[in-house]
């Protein structure tokens, strides 16, 4: 690992790290050779250290040997000391024997016996010392032998002393001249001889031990020294050869690898690592070499491709139909294609690669080829050069031979300049031809356009004026109508009062027939005034109505209207209109169930009444028939057909215009006809609600007025009938269903539900159970008993207490979750819908027996009741499917009270009958 990689990019200092880390980092950054040198040095140092320690130990050994020799010498001296004391004691004993005669026993004893005891005591003490020394001696084997010898010596000295005492006693008792005395002396001589030989042996053995030890040590020392020197030499040679081998086989190779890699990195793709051997380094060398080979191939390949691409580019540039020039950053020509040479023709000799743009332009300026350059060569060159340096718009240059050149100059991203020259002579000529034609045309067009613009402005002004006038007219009509009402009130009121007074007070007084006739005429004239006044009133009302509609002052309600109901109401309201026409019958002929439409119910009523009153007006015999149905374009269609005199097809469209009437009679004699505004108002209203009104007629064959209105929902959507006595529940379920794209009808009890279902068959019914009037249970029984309705799926939506065995296909317990509700509706209709997680109590609900496959699909968990409670406690959100057979045993109320959990009861599958 790179030291920098671990410790950051800053310079390495020992300040902020412990010494071990510092050494480690320094060691890592050392070159391999240095590392080897350091290892070698440490090995040499170790060998030398071992050698020094060996020599030190030898020196110590030698000094110990010296000590041992010194001890031996001391023992030898002590032995000699013992010997001399013994000689002195012998002398004293001899003297005692010799001077016994001279001095007498007592005198000799006093002098020599004391001397003898003192010398012998001294010898004994020396022997005791020797024994002490012997006890601390190193050589145990030797020590035993010496100890025995010293013991013997000690005993011999004791014995010798005993002998002397016996001699003295003998001398004292018998005198010196007897045989006993002489024998004793002889014994004593023998004893002494033994003593001295013992002492001699002791001295000799001490001397020999010391000498032998010294010699042995000296000899070993020399041998060890030689061995040491040889081993160190051998170790040094071995270490050196190891280092040499390592250096030869690893370090040099590593260095070579490193050098090769460095060379490669510098771009010398010929560099190869020459490494022999099959070890890891050898393999690494092979890898580097093969990598180098691949890189070389790659580079060669790329170079080949680049060359090919370059060739292709040059070929492509050669083959284009324009002249192409490429200048480098120093404005030297580096590429010119074949076409350029062709364009230059005689002057192509000036196109030489490497030539500067300026000198080339100079050449051409003076060649007379460019018309613009004639006489102003330097200026032209300057212009072209500045264009070259700061490419501007394309330039067109006429040539002296009549050709035209288009010169485009571009600067590339690297600051090189591309010049493209195209021969546009042909185009130029065409353009010139066209230009003369164009200028004529343009003048013409300009003139026409001017006229058109003026006309358009006039039209716009006229339109504005018309709109103003229309507004003014509406306002005027409105105010005039108001002003008309007051005089009309007097007119109508007084005529009525006059007629009343006249009838009550004057008619009874008219006795003469002539006066009676006159009275009757006055009465009928008063009736005319009244009816005309009423007609005037209706006219005023219609005019006001229309002006309100047209001026947009009216508030348009936009509610869902059932046209069937509207027609029923209008028909019963229009009965009165047909009272004076006993031969005309108003009937509802076709009465299909149709979707709702958006409209204002009062306005729709107005339209229908208007149509009925028109039909009544123009029909004398026959019937006025109403059809209500859904046409092939899924529009709600109302048709009012009469058997009246009809309208001439030429005027059929005009009957919807204002103040137009199909027939104009003598209003003084005929009953008042319409105001002429009714159909215009009808059209306004129907079109306001996105509908269309039109008429079909033949003179003498009656008239058909058609109205089509768009349904609030497309008729192909499945219809769901929601039955619930609670309006909040009805509204909620309707809203959820409408959002999911279903058509919805609602009913508040079973009776109403059956009526609605009979009118238009729903795809599915959701049924509450407890309802006033006919309850859900009865309604379901009635539906199931009816051949037409028995296969409509029924989803019971109810509370837990009255939930099951109502006979529905599934039961959702209130409160109802919108998603679960829609899921159940989808499932009952056999559609795929959004699915929620489902838990199913496993008794009876298996994938095979499940009647709602899309509810018992993939995301379903089958479990026992205990597991269900466990999951519910763990915060399960979704639907719990319970077979109806378990509805009594499971605490459904408790499940219902859990938020975000929906209970769905499914009928238990009927037991399979074994055949």
């Amino acid at each position: 690992m790179e030291p920098g990689g671990e410790y950051g990019d800053g310079p390495l200092t020992s300040k902020h790290m412990n010494p071990l880390e510092y050494i480690e980092i320094r060691w890592r950054s050392l070159p391999v050779v240095r590392k080897f040198a350091a290892a070698l040095g440490s090995m040499f140092a170790l060998i030398l250290f071992v050698a020094a320690v060996g020599f030190g130990a030898l020196g110590e050994l030698e000094s110990k040997a010296g000590d041992i020799v010194a001890d031996s010498m001391r023992m030898q001296r002590l032995a000699l000391e013992v010997d001399s004391r013994l000689q002195l004691a012998r002398q004293a004993e001899r003297d005692f024997s010799l001077r016994l005669r001279d001095l007498g026993v007592d005198g000799a004893r006093t002098v020599y016996a004391r001397e003898f005891s003192a010398r012998l005591g001294e010898a004994g003490r020396n022997v005791a010392w020797l024994q002490d020394m012997e006890r601390f001696s190193v050589d145990k084997q030797d020590s035993y032998k010496s100890a025995a010898r010293l013991n013997e010596l000690y005993l011999a000295i004791e014995r010798y002393s005993e002998h002397f005492r016996e001699l003295v006693e003998l001398a004292a008792s018998t005198g010196a001249d007897n045989r006993a005395f002489e024998r004793k002396t002889g014994e004593m001589d023998g004893e002494f001889l033994r003593l001295t030989s013992l002492v001699r042996q002791l001295a000799i053995s001490a001397t020999d031990g010391a000498r032998n030890a010294h010699l042995e040590i000296a000899r070993s020392n020399v041998f060890i020294k030689w061995v040491l020197v040889l081993s160190v030499l051998f170790a040094l040679i071995l270490a050196s050869s190891i280092i040499w081998v390592l250096n030869r086989t690893i370090v040099k190779n590593v260095v070579r690898l490193s050098d090769t890699a460095h060379e490669l990195s510098l771009g010398n793709l010929e560099a190869r690592a020459t490494i022999q051997g099959d070890d890891e380094i050898g393999k690494m060398g092979d890898s580097i070499n093969s990598m180098a080979v691949r890189i070389t191939n790659l580079v060669n390949n790329l170079e080949g491709k680049a060359a090919a691409a370059s060739d292709r580019l040059v070929e492509a540039i050669d083959s284009i139909s324009e002249g192409f020039l490429l200048y480098d950053q120093r404005e030297r020509l580096i590429l010119a294609n074949r076409k350029l040479h062709e364009l230059a023709g005689d002057q192509s000799s000036a196109i030489v690669l490497g030539i500067s743009a300026e000198s080339m332009l100079q050449t051409y300026a003076h060649s007379g080829l460019f018309v613009n350059a004639l006489g102003r060569e330097d200026e032209w060159v300057h212009e072209r050069l500045s264009q070259h340096r700061n490419p501007g718009p394309h330039m067109e240059e006429p040539l002296s031979d009549g050709r035209w050149m288009l010169i485009k100059t571009y600067r590339t991203g690297r600051g090189e300049v591309v010049v493209i020259m195209a021969d546009i002579t042909q185009r130029k000529r065409t353009v010139q031809d066209l230009a003369s034609i164009n200028s004529d045309l343009e003048d013409l067009v300009r003139e026409r356009t001017k006229v058109l613009v003026e006309k358009a402005m006039e039209l716009k002004r006229a339109n504005e004026r018309l709109r103003e006038l229309d507004e003014l007219k509406s306002a005027f009509l409105s105010s005039v109508s108001h002003e008309l009402r007051t005089p009309l009130t007097s007119l109508l009121g007084f005529s009525k009062i006059i007629k009343r007074d006249f009838s009550r007070n004057f008619m009874p007084l008219a006795a003469e027939e002539k006066v009676q006739r006159l009275g009757t005429r006055i009465q009928s004239n008063l009736d005319i005034i009244g009816s005309e006044g009423e007609r005037l009133t209706r006219l005023i009302n219609d005019v006001l109505d229309l002006s309100r509609i047209e001026s947009g002052q009216d508030d348009w309600r936009f509610t869902e209207v059932d046209l069937a109901g509207a027609i029923n109401r209008a028909v019963s309201a229009a009965r009165g209109l047909f009272t004076p026409k006993p031969h005309v019958k108003l009937t509802i002929r076709r009465f299909d169930v149709v979707p709702l439409v958006h409209a204002d119910p009062d306005r729709l009523h107005q339209v229908l009444i208007n149509l009925f009153s028109n039909a009544a007006k123009f029909t004398e015999v026959g019937e006025v028939a109403v059809d209500l149905f859904l046409d092939e374009k899924s529009m709600v269609h109302v048709c009012v057909e009469d058997t009246g005199q009809g309208v001439d097809p030429r005027y059929i469209e005009q009957i919807f215009d204002k103040f137009h009437q199909a027939q104009r009679g003598d209003t003084l004699t005929e009953k008042p006809a319409g105001t002429g505004l009714g159909l215009a108002i009808c059209r306004q209203i129907v079109e306001r609600y996105g509908g269309r009104i039109w008429a079909e007629s033949q003179r003498g064959r009656g008239t058909k007025i058609h109205i089509v209105m768009p349904p609030t929902e497309p008729a192909d959507r499945p219809l769901v009938l929601v039955v619930d006595d609670d309006s909040a529940a009805r509204d909620y379920l309707s809203m959820v269903l409408k959002k999911a794209g279903y058509g919805v009808r609602t009913a508040s009890d079973g009776e109403q539900a059956l009526t609605l279902a009979a009118k238009r068959r729903p795809a599915l019914i959701t049924m509450d159970i407890l309802m006033p009037g006919m309850d859900g249970r009865t309604a379901i029984q009635r539906l199931r008993g009816d051949e037409n309705f028995k296969d409509i799926p029924i989803l019971v939506v109810s509370v837990a207490s009255d939930c099951h065995t109502a006979g529905g296909d599934a039961t959702l317990l209130k409160p109802v979750n919108g998603d679960a509700f829609i899921g159940a509706v989808h499932a009952l209709l056999g559609e795929d819908g959004p699915s929620r997680p489902v838990i199913a109590l496993n008794d009876g609900v298996t994938p095979e027996s499940c009647q709602l496959p899309s509810l018992c699909g993939e995301d379903i968990t089958r479990c026992s009741e205990d597991e269900m409670w466990q999951m519910l406690e763990n915060g399960f959100e979704g639907t719990v499917v319970v077979p109806e057979s378990l509805a009594d045993t499971v605490d459904l109320k408790r499940v219902c009270d859990i938020q975000h959990v929906q209970v769905l009861l499914l009928p238990s599958p009927e037991p399979t009958v074994l055949s």
Partner: protein
């Protein structure tokens, strides 16, 4: 104690028409007819005579019918009087405004004399 009907309208002919229509009641029942020609006069009559039923025109000089209606209905001593508004305006907003002010009815001109008689009888409980 005779029942009093007050007619307030600036239009002389309308006033006459109403008078002539309601004369029948004067003949048949114990009813007294009073008339005023503008809002202020009408209000003065209301305060002094305390009529049982008022036919009140809306568009009048000095004080319009709405204003008279509002003042009468705000006065606790007067607000048991029954007011029928008469107008040439026939729009829903006008009708709503009149009824909100406390008027019993709103009749659009031209009105039917028979209707006037019928309504008066009902409101006066004759």
């Amino acid at each position: 104690m005779p029942k009093k009907i007050l007619i307030v309208d600036d239009e002389v002919h309308i006033k006459m028409l109403l008078e002539q229509t309601l004369e029948e009641l004067e003949d048949d029942y114990d009813v007294v007819l009073l008339t005023a020609s503008d809002g202020e006069e009408g209000l003065a009559f209301i305060r002094s005579e305390h009529p049982d039923l008022i036919f009140l025109d809306i568009m009048m000089p000095k004080m319009n019918g709405y204003e008279v209606c509002r003042i009468v209905m705000d006065d606790p001593e007067l607000n048991d009087v029954k007011i029928i508004l008469l107008t040439a305006k026939g729009q829903e907003v006008d009708r709503k405004q009149g009824l909100e002010l406390g008027a019993k009815m709103y009749m659009t001109k031209p009105f039917d004399p028979d209707e006037i008689l019928k309504v008066s009888k009902e409101l006066l409980e004759l």
